[in-house]
Every structure is written in C-alpha cells, then in structure tokens.
C-alpha cells in the first residue's frame, strides 16, 4: 500500500492547511478557526463546525452535500467543541484531482473519496492546532466476489478485481473506537466483521497507547503501511520543521 503524501501549513492566509495526495486523489484542505460565528449558527456551549466540499469540476451537488454531512458528523465527534463555545471552525476541502479511472470502476464515488477527505480534514485540523479529542484514520476495503478483499485499492486495482461484492469505508479513532462506517453492496454480518477487523489492523498501531519516548523505535521512514504510524511520521516532520531554529542556536 502506497503511503499518502502530505504537505502541511502551506497556505498563507488560512489558519491551518494540508494538501494530501494518495492513489491519484489530491485534495487541498484549509481550516479557519476559532473565528466569529454568525448569530444564526451560534451555539451557546459549543463551537459550530462548517464543512465545505468543492468538487474537482463544476459546482457542488447533492453528492457533495452528502459528503459534507458525513464529514461534519464524524469530525464533530473528535473536535473538542466545548472548549471553544460560540465560535466557528470552518473546514474547506477542495478536490484537486481524481484518478482517471474513478468513474469507470462502477464503485460509488462517495465511498472511494471519503477516506481521503477525512484524512485531509484531520491533517488541516492538526495544522490549525484546533483542540481535538483524538486522531482519526480511515480506509476503503473492497471485497471482490472471486478473490480476497483488497485494502485501500487504487482505481486500477478496482477495475482489475472484476465484479465487487461489497465496498466498505471505516474510520477509527486513535483509541480504536469505530467512528464511521459506510458500506455498499451485499454482505453478511460475519463478512462485515471480518472487513472491520482487517481495517482496524491497518488503521491502528500496536495498541500499547501512550507517548513513546524519543529513540524508542520512532523511525519515521519505517512505514509498513500502518496509517497511525504514517500520521505520527507526518506530525514528527511538522514538529521538526517548527523546532529547527533551536538546532541553529
């Protein structure tokens, strides 16, 4: 599995931003907040969350509205909204490019892009230093009728896999809680559970939890496709970049 490429805090005017490229999907995310909220959306004890998804071509459609509501509900559960009452956290996600074969795979394109949108928004939130309850990792699992399930497939892999029985998207919190599940197709509960366990294996790390001390196996380059390890690597690079002036003096 290819590891997503990330650029953090590259937009000048936004409070936090991230560009994320994986499997042909490229998304720019920007976060502004906490900022002033309009009186209509103000909530007395919580922050308001606004998610905008802009497609690569054309204007937003009901599909984008659907993605927005999925993202809104998932992100709401990981942002500490009660720490910033009567403010607004604005997340804008611009899809920059999709893989060429995206339309041809026949898979619901809401599902294929959802993990990438979730990762982009999380990275942008980290870049904006919005207080979060936990981190999030997400992936797509495709179950073909005739072969073994494919984890985080590219569009070409989906095309080659032949007819698909089911497609699942899972998102896990840092503490292995299941945050979001969207599934499409025909499957039994056992099959779903199997897919869920596979996703958990890739999304969450060893599970010892807690803070690892420096020099204790925190090798940034040793990414074996585990998404949590990948996320730690990204944050390690962000922190190193921010602290680099200390090395000079």
């Amino acid at each position: 599995m290819a590891v997503p490429e990330v650029t953090l805090t590259h937009l000048n005017r936004a409070d936090g931003s991230a560009t994320y490229t994986h499997n042909g999907y490229s998304i720019i995310g920007a976060v502004n907040g906490p900022i002033e909220v309009s009186r209509r959306d103000e909530m007395p004890e919580e922050a308001t969350l606004e998610v905008n998804v802009r497609p690569a071509v054309g204007v937003g459609s009901p599909k984008e509205r659907h993605l927005e509501s999925l993202l809104h509900n998932t992100l709401r559960s990981i942002i500490l909204t009660r720490m910033m009452p009567r403010t607004l956290v604005q997340i804008t996600l611009q899809v920059r490019s999709l893989p060429e074969e995206d339309e041809a795979t026949g898979v619901n394109s809401t599902l294929t892009i959802l993990p990438h949108l979730l990762h982009t928004s999380l990275l942008a939130l980290l870049s904006a230093s919005i207080p979060l309850l936990t981190t999030l990792t997400s992936l797509l699992i495709a179950v073909p009728t005739s072969s073994a399930p494919i984890i985080s497939p590219t569009s070409t892999e989906l095309l080659r896999a032949g007819p698909l029985q089911a497609v699942h998207v899972f998102a896990f919190a840092g503490d292995r809680r299941l945050l979001l599940n969207e599934s499409d197709g025909a499957f039994s509960y056992d099959e779903w559970e199997e897919a869920c366990e596979m996703a958990e294996e890739v999304c969450c790390s060893g599970g010892e939890g807690g803070v690892k001390l420096e020099g204790e196996g925190m090798d940034v380059d040793a990414q074996d496709g585990n998404l949590e390890e990948w996320l730690r690597g990204v944050v390690r690079r962000k922190v190193d970049w921010e602290q680099r002036w200390k090395k000079g003096t």
């Binding site: 900022i35 503490d175 420096e214 922190v239």
Partner: protein
C-alpha cells in the same frame, strides 16, 4: 534548555506519569499549559499535535506548537488594532475575524473621565490581555493596574507592522530571546521593535527604508529559521541596503 525535554504528542495521547515532572516542596501541584487537558482523577491528555515540553523547575508541562490562530491568554502582550469606539471601550481586534476585544477608555496612563484618549479606527495599540475566558470577550489594558503607569504600553506611532509566526513572537518575548540579528543591527542604526504575542511585530526605524529592511529581515529569520552565523550575515546585508 537544561531543565526541559521534548517528546512528540498527538491529540488523544495520554501522557505517561513518568514523562511529567514530579513536584517538590511548595511547587507540589503540576501546572498544565496550552495543549494539555486534565481528565479527573489523574489522566493527562494532549489536545494538539506538537512537542511536549516539561519544566521540572517550575513543575509545569505544556505542548509547544507553532501553527494555528492566536488564542488570548491572560498576561500576554499583544498588538491590537482599534476597530471602533463604544460607550466606555475601544473595540480592538487581536486576530482577523474574531469577536472584538474590549479596551476600556480609562485603561490608559493618566486617562480620566474628562481626558479620554482619542484613538481613530485602525490605530495600533500595544496592550496586555487582562482576562480571556472562553465564555467572555477578551479584555485588554494599557497600564499596570497596581501602579497606574503605562510601562511602555499604549499607542504605537509611526513605523509598520509585520506578520511573524506565533512561535517567533513567543521566542522574541522570552527573557533571553534576543535575536543576534537585532543586536548586530542595533549597534549601527537606531530603531524600535515591539513584539505582540498575536504574531505581529511593529518596527519603527525612523525612515521607511530602515523600517522595511528590518521588518523583512525579521520575517526572513522566521521563515528560514536562520542560525546565529546566518543572522549576522543577513544583518550585514541589511546594513548595506540601508546605508
């Protein structure tokens, strides 16, 4: 950096009790800075991504990060922009698109009900944050409430404002945070630098040329994280431009 150590943390990471300083003597209670959250009875969880900084001397821990929006904290020195004047306060902005902070008309040195300071919109004020709860608008002051003296706070005249990163502002405001750049420049030209914790620095070098050169030099040091040697070189370049 003798008394401190750093560890990488992500939101939701539990801080192991071993990684936190243990208080001794009268500093028995642990102080938590930005980025950490206490969940009773004794779990400490980080809320942002950054480097965990602990200080065993002060028995304090916090997460250091250099991105995002400035959030006011009581005691911070900030450069506020006056947005308008209400009955008793000036409405000031610390960062764009946030609710205005209140700066009372009487919070200036020597101000009385009869002689109020007149500040037109868009003037810059160097002030201290008095209170900044999450449930109320932040409140600012331009004098020390104990003595009634200005102590360098007040209207910033002339000069220009430059944007710098929050980490750079924090670094410049620490007691030993003087830049080599500014020290070596200061030997040759006269100028005044005011640092606001909200990521702004106000430079007044008399002439526009000097002001611009110094402001841009500070931004360069921030962007490229220049070390002492490179800062000296930059200072020499700046001097050539100015002279």
């Amino acid at each position: 950096m003798a008394a401190t150590s750093t560890t990488l943390v992500l939101p939701g990471d539990e801080i192991a009790p071993g990684a936190l300083p243990t208080g001794t003597g009268k500093r028995k209670t642990l102080k938590l800075g930005p980025g950490l959250r206490h969940i009773p009875p004794n779990t400490i969880v980080s809320t942002v991504a950054g480097a965990l900084v602990t200080n065993s001397k002060k028995n304090a821990a916090s997460v250091e990060y250099n991105s995002g929006r400035y959030l006011p904290y009581p005691g911070d020195l900030v450069i506020a922009t006056v947005n308008g004047s209400a009955a008793e306060n000036f409405n000031c902005l610390l960062t764009p698109n946030t609710p205005p902070a209140a700066l009372p008309h009487l919070a200036f040195e020597g101000a009385t009900k009869k002689t109020r300071p007149q500040l037109p919109p868009a003037s810059l004020v160097y002030c201290r944050v008095v209170s900044a709860g999450k449930d109320s608008a932040p409140e600012l002051t331009c004098m020390d409430p104990a003595t009634g003296k200005g102590e360098g706070l007040g209207l910033l005249k002339g000069g220009m404002v430059f944007k710098i990163s929050l980490g750079m502002a924090r670094r410049l405001l620490t007691p030993k945070g003087d830049l080599v750049l500014l020290e070596s420049l200061g030997g040759k030209v006269g100028f005044e630098v005011t640092v606001g914790r909200n990521g702004l620095v106000h430079v007044d070098g008399g002439a526009v040329k000097t002001t611009l050169a110094i402001g841009q030099a500070i931004q360069t040091v921030d962007d490229r994280a220049l070390d002492d040697v490179a800062q000296k070189k930059l200072a020499a370049d700046v001097m050539k431009k100015v002279a």
